[in-house]
């Protein structure tokens, strides 16, 4: 024994004392579903791609984004971004400008010429996609990436569907649309234009297809019965917007009345202003708060001088010197909020009347296909798989029961593609279990710096009514990065090192960049400081069981 006087034990480290045995609750790292992702109709992992954008790695962000949606530049312009309405940051100051960053990534991808990775292996299966709109192209993209051969048949002369023939250029410049469509085709998708499928059963048999995805859209304008003199010039919104793409702009005159309250009505009125109409008046039978059109678009239309006659319907279209005299009846909302006639009339003179009363689907191609069920003018599908009643035939976009917009359509295409793939393999798809929601109450917002949002520049009002130039500008790299960094990363670790720092017991192991952290349960006493001080709520405390 060579120890000093009165010393009987050799010095030891406290590491011998496994304080983990004190614990009654243990911290566990979790990933939760941020509200933006939960809300996205296209199923984008928004928090996931913002994570890369925050670091300035825009290509990684774009690749992450396009795992779910091949059209970020289109989305960044036309999506109604419900994600921003759901954003937890909105309860702190203002929501993150997700849509603006998405557009920046999309534009950056076009500018730098980023391409999609080709499929890893060919499956030898051949899928027919009917309709080259957002839903059909989205399905084609996802099917192709899964290795299937894809033929897209489009009745029209150009690809894009309603992205081209419904959304005006001032919202979606055509070079942007062309670039993103072409990138999908470059994956090896076969596109046949002017190739209407009149009989699906026959087309399937002749083409030797293993499955089909239908997304023909809703292109038939709904009419309303309005007694009219022959001289009255009455058009429908679908054909007005479509003819904007044909080189020969529609003749609307100086005084244009648009009948309807949806986004299409707004699009037509704003288009009319740009075509030189001095008066563009929307006639809508309810009030602004009940208008189905998105409020931001109503606001922009009003800024551009579009006028709206609320609580009004058109009863008849008669003759007037040099135009049409519309008889307008004032309406009043009843207790249930439905418009009721008042018997009060007035006359509105116009050079043309454009009906924007909704659109129907041409379902004639489905004749002779058994098992299909159509209801309310749309095809019924299993909402979980997008498959119709006919095995192997799937459908999406405007022709199935759902909200009608580009983002929903893209989401349908993605979902259908996954289920077509599963159906072709004969295996039920195994969707990853959805994470629990990352609610605002789980955040420790102390750690987030105060940061007001960045606004996108808008085109001068004068040019907005005289040209079809894009109204909404994009972000520069500086403010896109700023905006991306406003993301709170709700429910997903962003490696802020807080847990590693605040543990009084050194029981958090830092695994290095991108690897996140691990709890050392030998020493973790279960105090819960890491969970309490995690800014984004990515740590749960769970009871220990014997």
């Amino acid at each position: 024994m060579d120890k000093p006087f009165a010393i009987t034990l050799a010095p030891g480290s406290s590491l011998a004392n496994k304080t983990g045995s004190w614990r009654t609750r243990r911290p566990v790292y979790v990933d939760r579903l941020p509200p933006c992702n939960a809300q996205c109709p296209a199923g984008e992992d928004i928090q996931g791609w913002l994570y890369h954008a925050e670091a300035g790695d825009y290509e990684a962000a774009w690749r992450h984004l396009t795992r779910d949606n091949p059209f970020p530049a289109v989305m960044g312009r036309v999506c109604y971004h419900g994600c921003e309405g759901a954003c937890n940051r909105g309860r702190l100051d203002q929501p993150v400008g997700i849509n603006a960053v998405e557009r920046f990534l999309g534009d950056e991808a076009i500018r730098r010429g980023w391409r999609f990775a080709p499929p890893a292996a060919e499956t030898g299966r051949h899928v027919l996609v009917v309709g080259a709109g957002p839903s059909g192209l989205s399905a084609a993209y996802h099917l192709r990436r899964l290795g299937h051969r894809v033929t897209v048949r489009e009745a029209g002369p150009l690809a894009g569907g309603m992205m081209r023939f419904g959304i005006p250029q001032y919202r979606l410049p055509r070079d942007v649309l062309d670039a993103e469509v072409q990138r999908v085709l470059d994956l090896g998708v076969t596109l046949q234009l002017n190739s209407k499928v009149a009989d699906l059963a026959q087309a399937l048999a002749e083409g030797g297809h293993d499955a089909a995805f239908l997304a023909v859209g809703a292109h038939i304008a709904r009419r309303a019965f309005i007694p009219a003199k022959d001289s009255a010039r009455i058009l429908d919104a679908v054909s007005v917007l479509r003819s904007m793409e044909g080189g020969e702009p529609p003749l609307l005159g100086r005084r244009v009345v648009v009948y309807g309250g949806g986004n299409t009505a707004i699009d037509v009125a704003r288009t009319a202003r740009r075509l030189g109409a001095t008066e563009a008046v929307i006639v809508y039978r309810r009030t602004r708060d009940r208008m189905p059109a998105h409020d931001a678009e109503i606001e922009e239309a009003l800024q551009e001088g579009v006028m709206v006659k609320w609580l009004s319907t058109i009863r008849q279209a008669g003759d007037a010197p040099g135009g049409t005299a519309l008889t307008i009846e004032k309406m009043v909302l009843d207790a249930e909020g439905r418009p009721q006639p008042t018997g009060e009339f007035e006359t509105l003179e116009a050079d043309s009347l454009v009906l924007a009363l909704g659109q129907d689907v041409d379902l004639s191609l489905l004749d002779g296909l058994d098992g299909l069920q159509c209801k309310d003018g749309v095809v019924q599908v299993d909402p979980a798989t997008m498959m119709t009643g006919h095995p192997g035939v799937f459908a999406g976009g405007d022709m199935v029961p759902a909200e009608r917009n580009v983002t929903v359509a893209v989401g349908h295409g993605k979902k259908a593609a996954r289920h077509i793939d599963a159906w072709l393999r004969g295996q039920p798809p195994q969707p990853a279990a959805k994470h629990a929601a990352a609610g605002f109450e789980r955040l420790n917002t102390w750690y987030y710096s105060d940061a007001p949002p960045t606004l996108r520049p808008q085109l001068d009002l004068a040019r907005r009514t005289s040209s079809f130039d894009e109204v909404q500008g994009g972000l520069t790299e500086d403010n896109a990065l700023f905006e991306a960094r406003r993301c709170l990363s709700c429910g997903n670790c962003f490696e802020c090192d807080n847990c590693y720092g605040v543990c009084p017991d050194n029981a958090v192991i830092k695994l290095g960049p991108g690897q996140r952290f691990e709890i050392n349960y030998d020493y973790c006493k279960g105090c819960g400081l890491c969970a309490a001080e995690c800014p984004c709520g990515a740590i749960d405390m769970v009871d220990e069981t014997c």
Binding site: L15, T19, E54, E533
Partner: protein
């Protein structure tokens, strides 16, 4: 846009961040930190003192490139870190008595000075810290500490203030705040809890010695704390750092609320964070989002008697007045540059 990119990832609030340049990250964010107070120590769950001690000593270790010796007063920190024959300390560490940590630090510093002189160096390379709780500092060790200050010995003294004698069963110290319940100031009678108008403010007493550096900090603001340790280690002579470390046991608070309470102490104005050099305040850490003292007091059982069925608005108002006085005295709300 020329707005600086300073957000949650790169801002000053979290411990570290993947987006920060390594040299801008905190010591605690580094996988190579010293872990001066290692795992296996026997502090309670959520111990603020264990956390504060690691924050301070790791930062001092980086500032001195590991050339550091610590003297420790008796108290929780000493007891939970060194039950014979184990130690959690990963630096040379000595414990002598309850009240003499400052004197032991002085002695080590003197020995190092002699060694340096014999080796022909102007100043010793190895630096010294002395540390203790509020009992060992403001009460029992006060004489030794004052002596260390007036001699301007080259020691950084760190007081981990949890506002009572927690190790022996939560008895009142001269750092216990008014109205707080302890084993010796029970929540009974006319004026329950610790009395108003007693106790001492050691940071201000240290300032009165006009020593080179005095600072206060909490475990809630790591970057602020590390900057103060770094500043202290860049100076020679007697320096004093007073760190507020919530005690879940003694304060009757949840173990996961340790940092939150420290943050609330600052945001309510009850614990002013400042730096002073040679007796003059040189900087204060401003309140980010001012809160009423009730937010800080309510989660602590030691103040539970203020929130009984009838409440105690008078006492709350007196505590709020203390916070307001701090805010006015140190300018805790003024915008920088004003």
């Amino acid at each position: 846009m020329t707005q600086p990119l300073k957000f949650y990832q790169t801002g000053t609030f979290t411990v570290g961040n993947r987006l920060l340049a390594p040299e801008l990250r905190s010591v605690q964010a580094s996988a190579e930190r010293s872990n001066a107070l290692n795992s296996g120590h026997r502090a309670c769950q959520g111990c603020g003192e264990a956390l504060g001690a690691r924050y301070v000593v790791d930062a001092a270790m980086r500032a001195t490139r590991g050339q550091l010796i610590a003297a420790n007063a008796t108290g929780c920190l000493e007891v939970f870190s060194t039950p014979y024959p184990e130690t959690s300390w990963q630096l040379p560490w000595i414990h002598s008595l309850f009240g003499n940590a400052a004197a032991v630090g002085t002695g080590i510093a003197a020995a190092l000075k002699v060694q340096a002189r014999k080796a022909g160096r102007a100043a010793p390379e190895v630096r010294v810290i002395a540390q203790g709780g509020d009992g060992g500092t403001t009460d029992i060790g006060f004489g030794c500490l004052s002596g260390m200050f007036e001699r301007n010995d080259d020691v950084l003294y760190v007081c981990y203030d949890n506002e009572a004698y927690m190790n022996t069963g939560v008895q009142r110290s001269s750092a216990t705040p008014p109205a707080a319940r302890t084993a010796t100031t029970m929540a009974v009678g006319e004026a329950p809890g610790a009395a108003f108008g007693q106790g001492k403010n050691l940071p201000l007493i240290a300032m009165a010695h006009e020593i080179p550096y005095v600072a206060t900090a909490t475990v809630a603001d790591l970057r602020d704390l590390e900057a103060k340790v770094e500043r202290a280690m860049a100076l020679r002579g007697a320096r004093y750092l007073h760190v507020l470390v919530p005690c879940p046991l003694g304060w009757g608070a949840a173990s996961h609320d340790t940092i939150r309470l420290a943050r609330l102490a600052r945001e309510t104005g009850l614990f002013p964070e400042f730096e002073a050099e040679h007796g003059q305040v040189t900087a204060v850490t401003r309140i980010r989002r001012r809160l009423p003292v009730e937010d800080y007091l309510r989660p602590q059982k030691r103040f539970a008697h203020l929130f009984g069925p009838d409440g105690d608005p008078d006492t709350l108002a007196r505590i709020q007045a203390r916070a307001d006085r701090n805010i006015a005295r140190f300018g805790l709300l003024e915008a920088p540059g004003s």
